[in-house]
C-alpha cells in the first residue's frame, strides 16, 4: 500500500513536464519552492514546538544577498549562493540566540519583531536594496553549463533541490537528535533532567531551519529574477505558517501539501475567483474544523478507518 502512494507522488512530480504547458510547469516550480520553505518552518513549528511568525526573514535575506552580490558586486552565482547560504545561516544563529530567550507567545513575537525589522530595512535602506522599486534584471545560474532559463529545466532543478531538502530534513528529524528535539518539544523539563540541553537542541534546530529557509530563498530569487521587500513581509511568513498548519505540522508530507494548497489558491484559483483571499480563509477554516491536525494526518486517519471498515 505504501509503495502505491510513493509511486503516485513520484509520478505526479515527474510527469507534469511531459505534457503540461509552461504556465503549469512554472506553477509546479513555485509549489516546490514553497514546499521547501514550509518544510523548513515545520522543523520549528511541528517538531520543535516553536511557532515562528518571522520565517520569511531567511527566505528574504537569502534571496537579497544573492540578488545584491550577483547584480551589484559582480559575483558569480556559485560564490553568491555560498555566501548567501552562509550569511543566512549566520543570521539564523544570531536570531536564534535572541528569539530563544523566550518560548511560546514570546518566541512568536520576537521572531515577528525581527522579521519586521528586516522588512523595514529592505524598504528604507533604498540605497542598498533599491527600496520599493526592487532589484530587477537578475539572472538564473547555469550549474554545470546547463541553462535554467526554460521552465522545464528550472523545474528539474527545483525538483532535485526539493528532493534533497526533503531527504535531509527527514534524516534530521528521524535521527537521534530529532528524537531529542521531539522530547524537548513535549517534555522540556524531563529532557533537562535527563541531561539534555533543551536550549542547545532548540538553537541547532533553529539554525538548521534558517539554513533551509535560505535555500528556499535562493530558489525563490532564481525563479522570480526580481526581488522586492514584500518577500520579507509578515504576509509571506504567515502564508508559510498557514501552509504548515493546514497540511499538518509535525509530519513530513503535510507542509508540502499545505504549501501547494496556498500556492494554488493564490496563483491559480485567483484567476477564476475575484475574492480568492476569502476562499483562502474559508478553506483554512474548513481544514481547522474538519481535520484540526491538518490535511495529511486527517487523510491518513480517514484511510485507516476506511480500511478498518472494509475488514
Amino acid at each position: 500500500m505504501k509503495w502505491i502512494g510513493v509511486a503516485l507522488v513520484a509520478g505526479s512530480l515527474l510527469l507534469p513536464p511531459l505534457f503540461a504547458g509552461d504556465f503549469y510547469i512554472n506553477l509546479a516550480s513555485q509549489i516546490l519552492i514553497a514546499a521547501i520553505f514550509a518544510l523548513s518552518l515545520n522543523l520549528l513549528v511541528g517538531f520543535g514546538g516553536m511557532t515562528s511568525l518571522g520565517h520569511a526573514s531567511y527566505l528574504g535575506v537569502g534571496a537579497y544577498i544573492s540578488a545584491l552580490l550577483t547584480s551589484r558586486y559582480g559575483f558569480g552565482h556559485g560564490a553568491a549562493a555560498l555566501l548567501s547560504i552562509v550569511g543566512t545561516t549566520a543570521m539564523a544563529a544570531f536570531f536564534g540566540v535572541i528569539a530563544l530567550r523566550a518560548s511560546g507567545l514570546g518566541f512568536l513575537m520576537i521572531t515577528l519583531a525581527l522579521s519586521q525589522v528586516l522588512w523595514g530595512l529592505a524598504y528604507r535602506m533604498s540605497n542598498v536594496t533599491n527600496g520599493d522599486n526592487g532589484i530587477a534584471g537578475l539572472t538564473r545560474p547555469a550549474p554545470f553549463g546547463i541553462s535554467l532559463d526554460s521552465p522545464i529545466s528550472f523545474y528539474w532543478f527545483a525538483l532535485i533541490v526539493a528532493t534533497f531538502a526533503l531527504v535531509m530534513m527527514a534524516t534530521f528529524v528521524s535521527s537521534a537528535f530529532g528524537s531529542s528535539l521531539k522530547g524537548v518539544r513535549d517534555q522540556p523539563r524531563r529532557m533537562a533532567a535527563l541531561g539534555f540541553n533543551p536550549w542547545l537542541i532548540r538553537w541547532i534546530t533553529f539554525v538548521y531551519a534558517g539554513f533551509w529557509g535560505g535555500v528556499a530563498g535562493l530558489l525563490y530569487v532564481y525563479y522570480h529574477k526580481y526581488m522586492h521587500p514584500t518577500s520579507l513581509s509578515t504576509t509571506s511568513s504567515a502564508e508559510a505558517l498557514l501552509g504548515v498548519i493546514a497540511g499538518g505540522s509535525g509530519t513530513l508530507g503535510g507542509p508540502a501539501v499545505g504549501a501547494a494548497l496556498v500556492v494554488l489558491l493564490k496563483n491559480y484559483v485567483s484567476a477564476y475567483l475575484e475574492r480568492w483571499n476569502m476562499l483562502l480563509g474559508l478553506v483554512f477554516l474548513f481544514i481547522v474544523l474538519v481535520t484540526p491536525t491538518g490535511i495529511v494526518p486527517g487523510v491518513s486517519r480517514l484511510t485507516t478507518r476506511l480500511r478498518g471498515g472494509e475488514r
Binding site: F23, S126, G131, D132, N133, G134, K225, H228, E274
Partner: protein, 415 residues
C-alpha cells in the same frame, strides 16, 4: 475550464449585445478573437486604482460591442494584488496560459519592474500605466510603450507654472518615500529651481503613514507646499495640514495623483482652489472626453481619474493601431510598430510616442472647483506636447543618473 473564466465576453451584460449582433460577427470573423490581458491590482492596498482600470477598459470594449477593427476581442483580467511576485505569476498566466496578444498595465512601478524583463523576453506588446522613469529612459524595451506619463513628466509644467505665473519663490515638497515620489519631487525641483525658485525642504513619508501629524509639524513656511503623494495619502495629509491651520499660511499644489478624481470624491470644500497637474482631467473639453467622462459617471456614480483614464486611453490607442494593421495581431512586430505610430486622438488629447516609447501629449494645470455640487479638477492651462525630457536636451538628460531621493541634489534646503 474556460467556462468559469472571468472573461469579458462571457459576462452577462456583454452577452446581450453580442448575441444581438452575432450573425454579423460570424460572417465577418474568420479567425479567433484578439485576446487582451489586463494586469490590475484588484485586491490589496492599490485596489481602488486597479478596479477603475478594469471598469474603464471594460466600458471601452462594451461601447464597441467587443469588437476592435472588425475582430472580436476577449478581455482577460488578472489580479496582481499589488504584489510583485504575484504580478509576475499573473503575467506568466496571461502569456503562457491565455496566449494574449498584448498586455495593458500594471499600475504600480514595482509591479511593472518585476515583469519588465519577462515581457521583453517574451516579446509581448505592452501598453504600460506605471510611471517609473527608466522604463522609457535608460532601460527602454522595444515591446513597451507608456501612454500616461513618467513620474516627473507632469511635474515640470506645474513647476514652471508655479515659478512664472504664480511667482512662488520658496516651496516645500512632500511625497511618499518610494521611487514614484522621489522621481516626481526631483523633476519638480529641477524645473522649479531652473526657473529661479528654491526648494527649501523635502519631506518623504512612508507609503503607509497612519498619522501625518509629526510631518505636518515639521513643515517650514514657504510660498507653497507641493504634494507628490499617491493613493489616498494626499487626502489624509491634507486633512491634517488643514487642521493645523497651515492652509491659510501657504498654498497647496499637487502632482498627478495627489488630488486625483478618485481622491477628490471623498473630500469637502477644503480642497477648493488647490492646483494640480496631470495628463488628464474628467473635465477636459474635447469631444471624446465629453462622451467618456459623463458616461462613466452615469454608470459608476463618480468621475474617471488617472487610472480609469489610463486604460481607456490604452484602448483608444490600441484600436487605432489595430485598424492600421487590419487587426492582424499575430504579427507582433507590426502591432508594436503600429502602436508606436498610432498618433491616436484620445480622451486626453492627441498622443504620440517618442523613440523610447513614452507618450508625448498635453499636460494640464487644473484647479479644484465646484460644479453641479461636486468637486472637479477644472483645467486652467494647457501645456501642449510635453515630453518626458521637458525642455532639456535628451542626450544630456540621459547621461545623468535617474532621479532619486538625492539626485539632483537639493542645494537650497533651509536648516
Amino acid at each position: 475550464m474556460t467556462m468559469s473564466r472571468r472573461q469579458f465576453v462571457g459576462s452577462v451584460a456583454g452577452a446581450g449585445i453580442t448575441s444581438l449582433a452575432a450573425p454579423h460577427f460570424l460572417s465577418a470573423q474568420p479567425s479567433e478573437p484578439i485576446r487582451i490581458g489586463l494586469l490590475a491590482a484588484k485586491t490589496g492596498p492599490l485596489a481602488s486604482g486597479g478596479i477603475d482600470m478594469d471598469l474603464a477598459l471594460t466600458m471601452f470594449l462594451r461601447e464597441r460591442e467587443n469588437t476592435l477593427a472588425g475582430r472580436k476581442v476577449e478581455l482577460i483580467v488578472a489580479d496582481t494584488a499589488g504584489v510583485p511576485a504575484t504580478a509576475r505569476t499573473k503575467a506568466q498566466e496571461l502569456v503562457e496560459k491565455n496566449n494574449v496578444h498584448c498586455i495593458i498595465g500594471p499600475l504600480a512601478a514595482f509591479e511593472a519592474l518585476a515583469i519588465a524583463d519577462y515581457l521583453t523576453e517574451k516579446e509581448m506588446p505592452t501598453l504600460g500605466v506605471a510611471a517609473a522613469e527608466d522604463m522609457t529612459q535608460r532601460h527602454p524595451s522595444p515591446w513597451f510603450v507608456r501612454l500616461t506619463s513618467t513620474s516627473a513628466q507632469c511635474a515640470y509644467p506645474l513647476a514652471d507654472y508655479a515659478a512664472k505665473e504664480l511667482k512662488y519663490k520658496r516651496i516645500v515638497t512632500i511625497a511618499d518615500d518610494f521611487a514614484y515620489g522621489h522621481e516626481m519631487c526631483a523633476g519638480f525641483q529641477r524645473s522649479f529651481e531652473d526657473s529661479g525658485g528654491k526648494i527649501i525642504q523635502k519631506i518623504f513619508t512612508p507609503l503607509a503613514t497612519p498619522d501625518y501629524g509629526s510631518y505636518v509639524a515639521q513643515v517650514k513656511t514657504g510660498d507653497a507646499i507641493f504634494l507628490g503623494t499617491a493613493g489616498s495619502n494626499g487626502f489624509r495629509f491634507l486633512r491634517q495640514f488643514i487642521e493645523y491651520g497651515l492652509k491659510d499660511k501657504m498654498a497647496v499644489i499637487g502632482g498627478m495623483t495627489a488630488l486625483d478624481e478618485s481622491v477628490l470624491r471623498n473630500m469637502g470644500d477644503e480642497a477648493l482652489g488647490i492646483l494640480t497637474t496631470s495628463w488628464y482631467s474628467a473635465e477636459l473639453d474635447n469631444p471624446l472626453n465629453k462622451a467618456f467622462a459623463p458616461a462613466f459617471r452615469k454608470q459608476f456614480k463618480y468621475d474617471p481619474g488617472y487610472y480609469a483614464g489610463s486604460t481607456y486611453v490604452s484602448g483608444e490607442v490600441l484600436e487605432v493601431a489595430l485598424k492600421s494593421i487590419k487587426a492582424n495581431v499575430e504579427d507582433k512586430k507590426a502591432l508594436m510598430a503600429a502602436i508606436r505610430g498610432s498618433n491616436a486622438d484620445t480622451v486626453r488629447g492627441v498622443i504620440k510616442f517618442d523613440g523610447s516609447g513614452n507618450a508625448i501629449g498635453n499636460v494640464y494645470i487644473r484647479k479644484v472647483t465646484k460644479s453641479d455640487g461636486r468637486l472637479v479638477n477644472s483645467v486652467i492651462k494647457t501645456y501642449p506636447d510635453v515630453t518626458q525630457f521637458w525642455t532639456y536636451d535628451k542626450a544630456a538628460f540621459l547621461k545623468n543618473p535617474v532621479y532619486s531621493r538625492d539626485y539632483p541634489p537639493a542645494q537650497n534646503l533651509e536648516q
